[in-house]
Subunit: 550 residues, 2 copies
């Protein structure tokens, strides 16, 4: 093996000297080789990708930080495109393993518990390769054919998981060219845009001479409907894509209003009702375009009381959108799907495939209870997407689109809903066990216990904990600020040590200081992340504290 | 080899009977196998993907149509997610080759010349596999590190190709955390949204008490600026994403106004000046938000006179966006880059990676001349994208994002700009030769000669051609309608025969009938598509005409 590698390198060096762009060589890259030798090298490269990378990562369990970002960036400043080829594929792959991977983030490590990005089953890489090899474009049937049909089927499967309509409903819509149960998009952000775009267009639809907001614009729409502004209601824990959506769609992001949350970060239904009442009786003429419930907030994993919110929205005739980008797949666990009770009453739901469906980056999805809702954003063109066609680009925020639906469809077959349930349950149960562990350690304080598989905590040495409870308040404020600094430093030290990674955030509006409470954030989605690993992470934090911060 | 295959199948059948979701099996899918046997099967699957699929496609050069869409759709109506695993990876791959691929569209065939989707070099599949295996998320540095740096570098390379600023400019910005030369997005549609979003926010920026359109919304913005509406100007050949952008952004798509084009489909600069003058003197208070020039229209590949349009926009202080989703990579050909002269004066430019950079689906890009322009759409959040960080999600229409930039970066190294130039030149020159061939055949009429590598033509038998020239006009109209029907039928018959594929579109506003002229559309981007193949396609059309339509 070592010998082969040397030979390969030597060959690469030799061929490198004579790299010139020529038409014959170029043509060959468009034809997969027929000879055994040619085929074997292509397979060999795949082997390097699958295992060379893997073997490297195994020896670097955390995030390598031996070189800082700035120093790294200085190596990547050449902005000229080379005229002739610089490298062959084998050299590109070798560089990847030797030069790129060591400075990428090892999100697959079980010690990487800071973000919603994690290890994926190895077969996902194969599935993505299939999608690339087929290179279909889902925007129209003429460049995708069966893949558009597969997409409609898998959309119906997830729609059914969420909305649980009856068999007859799905028989009517699964392959209906005139309706859409949802849409694949780039990510949760685009899914949220799509949902609110639909909500906007349905609320400000054509009336009298007014052609509707999509055609006439926001200013004319408000004028036609005799209103001053449209607002979107969500707690302060809403993902920032909700604010971006309001900016993008011409509502203005100042019109995203924060509904109060309870101590556990969930929207307070009475606060929502109060706000609706206040808006109705305001001297400004205000219309509520949507209420956004969250099933798994980014910061703490909290789940809003979806059933209560759905009921209120129904009473007031308001579009109810649920951002379940994170929490959606919890529905596959019979044991925990009750945590999302009420989601089936939403008008629209966002779910990310690259989060808890464990798909490779990136795949978002948005679903609509009513299969005609996406008509509110339908567009046609002469060259594609003719009316009445099966072209999925008709009701889609994007244009060209890869067939990521094939990955989800295959993954559901390989895993089964039970397989996914096992992952979900591991996450929730490990998070609960970790919460108990944190609560037992005097140096730490559990800040938000896990509802799903996310929790936040902080380093909080007993002497500071004591001071927080103290009067005078000035001393409590000082202690709060000290704690914030302490946790910022701790998180940085641990990240730089390169063995493990928890993230940090600042929970606004909690604690005695206006800048909020800095917490460490732990997302448990990797089935290889055991309680023992999490204890090791706490041990490391304790020792960093004692050696550097105490 | 055959023996192994049989063994594998038998093993699959056996294992299939006992497929149950269990935690141990699940955990194994998260660990790449260490044993030689385990590794060899993963490699074997890749081999199947690379060659099983290829060998199938080789025998089906066109688009297989032996079963219609409706019949196909009836097989994909089960909407329940299986509780236990249904298939193992090897079975999924076998199904793909035997059941999915035969009904996908063979976009890699040199006989598939109907759309902007084509064959890609085989190494692109390896590169996409690398991206999936690394599974980085470009939204933030904590989940991408070096990959964000690589992305900034390749953005600068393409920016330089387009705008040709000097070395000092690129040294300042290539790795500057506070500026952005552009952004990777899902596709050209999202790129156009981003460009027009930036144009909107810069035009309706904060003034006095007004916080800007992004914060205050469109209605308040028009009010603050004392205008009735904002418009976007483009010819009727503009991609439909321009209309979608105006709808999405709250301008209203009725405010996309069509500037007259000349006979070859290019915007007429005098018509633009006339329209600007008419808008300025209109009794409505109208502001022009952007003029969109096109470098390669979707229908005919026409290129607007970018230099003239840039000049006019500069004079009037209007944002000039160039949609070069298709034509952008022409800049890599020294021989033909002059066709896009003036693009370097644009304020923003859209280019698609999955079109003439031959990347797998999908990869869009948008570039800005001024590295501070993307600040107009910057968003921050507590948990990611903190101000001052290198997080690329700060100035991006999407959130989570895969590292497609690594594919482009590697491809540029493998191909060199000369390699890409050879592809571009092949397309343009083959299209020209094909145009000559069409002009020589009495049965056909060349409708739009190629500027880049797209042309349109139609079947036009001499007796009908004669009638078109005839008075009375009623007879000419009848002939025009007959021709339209004839070409619609011809295109369908050829598609259904499954050997080759040209697309069709309707050129609005041309010919004697208001419904426009139906044409056959040919996009030449596959280096394996030779003039001989194109002649065969014409021969087939002639014989279809004589046997079925004459």
């Amino acid at each position: 093996m070592a010998k082969t590698a040397t030979l390969t390198t030597r060959k690469a060096d030799a061929s490198r000297r004579r790299l010139v762009a020529d038409r014959q060589a170029l043509m060959r890259t468009f034809i997969r080789p027929e000879s055994d030798a040619g085929r074997q090298s292509l397979v060999k490269y795949m082997e390097q990708i699958l295992f060379g990378l893997h073997d490297f990562l195994k020896n670097h369990v955390g995030i390598t930080e031996e070189i800082g970002l700035k120093a790294l960036a200085e190596r990547f400043t050449d902005t000229r495109i080379s005229e002739h080829p610089e490298k062959k594929l084998e050299q590109v792959i070798a560089d990847l393993i030797e030069r790129i991977a060591p400075h990428a983030v090892n999100v697959a490590s079980p010690y990487f518990v800071g973000h919603m990005t994690s290890a994926i089953p190895y077969f996902m890489v194969h599935l993505k390769t299939i999608v690339a090899a087929l290179n279909q474009n889902i925007v129209k049937i003429e460049t995708s054919k069966l893949l558009s049909i597969v997409e409609k089927q898998v959309l119906a499967k997830i729609h059914r998981l969420v909305f649980q309509k009856n068999e007859a409903f799905y028989r009517d819509h699964v392959q209906n060219a005139h309706t859409a149960l949802g849409c694949f998009v780039e990510d949760g952000t685009l899914a949220n845009y799509t949902a609110l775009w639909v909500a906007r267009n349905r609320m400000l639809k054509p009336t009298g001479d007014f052609p509707g907001v999509e055609r006439g614009g926001m200013a004319a729409a408000l004028n036609a409907y005799g209103i001053d502004r449209c607002v979107v209601l969500v707690t302060r824990f809403g993902h920032f894509s909700i604010h971006k959506a309001a900016g993008l769609l011409g509502l203005g992001n100042a019109n995203v209003l924060a509904v109060d949350a309870d101590a556990r970060g969930r929207m307070d239904p009475r606060a929502l009702e109060g706000m609706l009442e206040a808006l109705r009786t305001s001297k400004e003429r205000i219309r509520v375009m949507a209420v956004v419930g969250i099933a798994g907030t980014t910061e703490t994993g909290a789940v809003d009381p979806l059933d209560r919110l759905a009921e209120i929205c129904k009473t007031h005739g308001i579009h109810f959108h649920v951002d379940a980008a994170w929490g959606g797949p919890t529905l596959m666990s019979e044991k925990y799907r009750h945590l999302l009770a009420g989601i089936e009453q939403a008008d629209s739901v966002t779910i990310d495939g690259h989060k808890q469906f464990y798909m490779p980056m990136t795949c978002g999805m948005v679903f609509f209870k009513d299969p005609f809702m996406l008509d509110a954003v339908a567009y046609y063109a002469r060259y594609v997407n003719r009316p009445g066609s099966v072209d999925l680009g008709i009701r889609s925020i994007s244009g060209s689109r890869e067939a990521n639906s094939l990955i989800l469809d295959s993954a559901l077959k390989i895993m089964g809903s039970k397989g996914y349930a096992l992952l979900i349950e591991h996450g929730i149960e490990t998070a609960r066990a970790f919460a108990r562990e944190i609560a037992q350690r005097p140096l730490f304080e559990l800040v938000t216990p896990p509802v799903l598989n996310i929790l936040t905590y902080r380093l909080c040495p007993p002497e500071l904990k004591e001071k927080l409870r103290n009067v005078p308040p000035e001393e409590a404020r000082r202690a709060a600020r000290t704690l914030n600094t302490l946790n910022i430093t701790l998180q940085r030290l641990q990240r730089q040590a390169g063995k493990s990674f928890v993230s940090r955030t600042t929970l606004a509006g909690t604690g005695p200081v206006p800048e909020g409470k800095v917490v460490l954030r732990c997302v448990i989605m990797n089935p290889m992340t055991t309680l023992d690993i999490l204890k090791t992470i706490l041990d490391e934090q304790e020792s960093l504290y004692r050696n550097h911060l105490a």
